[in-house]
């Protein structure tokens, strides 16, 4: 069995991450990542084909901060929120410093007028720094099941 303490720490990180987004506390979102991080939103077909491109491609913590700044102060879109539902997290590799995990995720999008629907499904493929607390993402790949995005994607997944 894996170390229970590490497992609890990983679960806490993943749960706190979606709480942060769903609670509209985007300013805290970059803090879930190490400075030299990667955050990518791609899709299953592209991922399996080995394509590097992501509809969001962040290769540093600064690029995450810029996503938040622009979302708050620059970009134009209709107000909406997400509700993430993350399934059980499977730890696929673990050494003293790094864990590799997978979690399924559904995200509903709730528009300002109350209109709501399933926005994306997919899975998180994560590499997590477990060498010190709080745990942080070294890499978070959001691999969507579909290549189609309805209207736009501005709030991170």
């Amino acid at each position: 069995m894996r170390d229970d303490k590490v497992r609890l720490g990983i679960n806490e990180l993943i749960a706190a991450y979606v709480d942060c987004i769903d609670d509209d506390r985007f300013e805290e979102w970059p803090d879930f990542f190490v400075d030299d991080c990667r955050y990518l939103i791609t899709d299953r077909e592209s991922h399996e084909a080995g394509l590097q491109h992501g509809i969001i491609y962040c290769a540093s913590r600064g690029m995450l901060v810029d996503r938040v700044t622009t979302l708050r102060r620059v970009l134009m879109f209709e107000a909406h929120r997400y509700r993430h539902l993350v399934g059980p997290t499977r730890i696929v590799a673990l050494d003293g410093k790094t864990a590799e995990t997978r979690s399924n995720v559904f995200v509903a999008r709730i528009m300002h007028d109350g209109g709501m629907g399933l926005f994306v499904t997919g899975r998180y493929l994560d590499r997590i720094d477990v060498s010190c607390e709080p745990y942080r993402f070294i890499e978070r790949l959001v691999v969507l099941d579909s290549q189609k995005i309805d209207t736009l994607l501005v709030i991170p997944l």
Partner: protein
């Protein structure tokens, strides 16, 4: 207006011959949408189909669409590219059920009719019957039941197709100006696909076709550009429009060295202006050696070729109903790219697509127009910025390319 005055015939009523007035009903009327499928997408136009590089080997095929019509593009044993409708000649069943594949022949799952990679009917299951009973009627001849073929042309690795026997060859159709713009980006530089995505637009396809020709909105709606001093209408640029109005490219030039210095200065300033934490999303190189940092090129009716800094992409506009459009993004890299250019294109990829800093708003603004026009589509929009003509201009505060779209649209639809 009384109830009696309301027109229920659904017809679009063009207010005048002027290109600068566009009846709102053109975006909402189902009859107009059906007419466009026949006269535009199946009419005298060339539609983008795919990259030749997507089907490099004999047997490779992709399934795509022209307008709403399902199409197969395949490379045959002789290496030639063919396009034909994705509809079995027998009972009309869809032949290819995936987006791409590799087969020596195409066989319908319903009754087993099979076709070669040029769309010729080669096999009919139980053609002679079973145990000398049944079978096709004697007057049935396979060579009278091939798949409907399209004309095909290839230019700079892009494959185009048309249903029309009459439309001019592709280069004449585009005209020398737009062919020049296309070759500037793609000539002699083999490309490969670095990513794909599809953005579902909640609006009529023409609202997006106009949007990409609309140089007026770019620095207003996309405030990322002005906030971070990336693209302003005051930058030198031009709009270049084909003779028939339908195709165009706009360009904006950038003083790359001055911008670099500007960013360095901005990093040193202690004011509270918004600035990017990581400039790599816009840090670009003058790849084509002509200081053009943005070139947006359109081919009527369904294709956009964009160079935004060092991002290169084909966008394909696919109508999916009066008020729904799918916008396919095909992100490209050149085979000659080194590691730093590959990384640069990936980082700048944040500018474009469904989550793009300078394109996501185009995903919602067409939907806002569509909603405003819901049962409120009488009257006309105005596109008079820069005059009434649809000619090339040396400035970008203009709607000339939009007027060009309507010039071509009206010519093709007979409006």
């Amino acid at each position: 207006m009384s109830v009696q005055d309301v027109r229920f015939d659904g017809a679009v009523n063009w207010p005048s011959n002027a290109l600068s007035e566009v009846p709102f009903r053109v975006y909402t009327d189902p009859q107009q949408y059906a007419l466009e499928q026949e006269r535009i997408f199946k009419g005298e136009t060339w539609s983008y189909l795919c990259l030749a590089g997507e089907i490099p080997n004999p047997g490779d095929w992709v399934a795509t669409t022209i307008g709403e019509v399902a199409i197969i593009v395949a490379r045959d044993e002789a290496g030639a590219i063919n396009a034909f409708v994705n509809r079995c000649a027998h009972r009309g069943n869809l032949l290819c059920l995936r987006n791409r594949g590799h087969n020596r022949e195409i066989t319908c799952i319903y009754h087993g009719w099979s076709y070669d990679l040029a769309g010729r009917l080669t096999g009919v299951a139980f053609e002679k019957g079973v145990k000398r009973e049944g079978g096709m009627a004697p007057e049935f001849h396979k060579d009278e039941h091939h798949l409907q073929r399209l004309r095909i042309e290839e230019l700079c690795g892009l494959v185009f197709g048309t249903f029309s026997d009459d439309v001019a060859d592709l280069q004449s159709y585009l005209g020398p100006v737009v062919v020049g713009g296309l070759k500037r980006v793609l000539e002699d530089r083999p490309v490969h696909i670095i990513g794909r995505s599809t953005q579902i637009l909640p609006n009529n396809w023409k609202l997006y076709a106009e949007n990409v020709k609309d140089t007026y909105h770019a620095s207003i709606l996309h405030s990322f550009l002005t906030t971070f001093r990336i693209n302003r209408l005051s930058m030198p640029g031009s709009i270049n429009i084909s003779e028939d109005g339908g195709h165009h490219f706009s360009q904006a030039k950038l003083d790359y060295a001055a911008e670099d210095a500007d960013y360095k200065a901005a990093q040193l300033r202690s004011d509270t202006d918004l600035k990017l934490e990581d400039n790599s999303v816009v840090e670009s190189v003058d790849e084509f050696g002509d200081q053009v940092s943005v070139q947006i090129l359109t081919v009527f009716p369904n294709m956009v070729l964009q160079q935004v800094r060092n991002t290169i992409a084909v966008r394909v506009i696919r109508p999916r109903g009066v008020d729904k459009t799918e916008l396919d993004w095909v992100h490209l890299g050149f085979d000659s790219d080194d590691a730093s250019m590959r990384e640069r294109r990936l980082r700048q990829g944040n500018l474009i697509g469904a989550a793009g800093y300078i394109s996501m708003e185009d995903g919602c603004v067409g939907g806002f127009v569509q909603r405003a026009l819901q049962y409120n589509d009488d009257g006309d929009g105005v596109v008079m910025m820069g005059g009434h003509e649809a000619q090339s201009q040396t400035f970008r505060a203009s709607e000339a390319a939009i007027r060009g779209f309507w010039k071509k649209y009206r010519a093709v639809t007979g409006a």
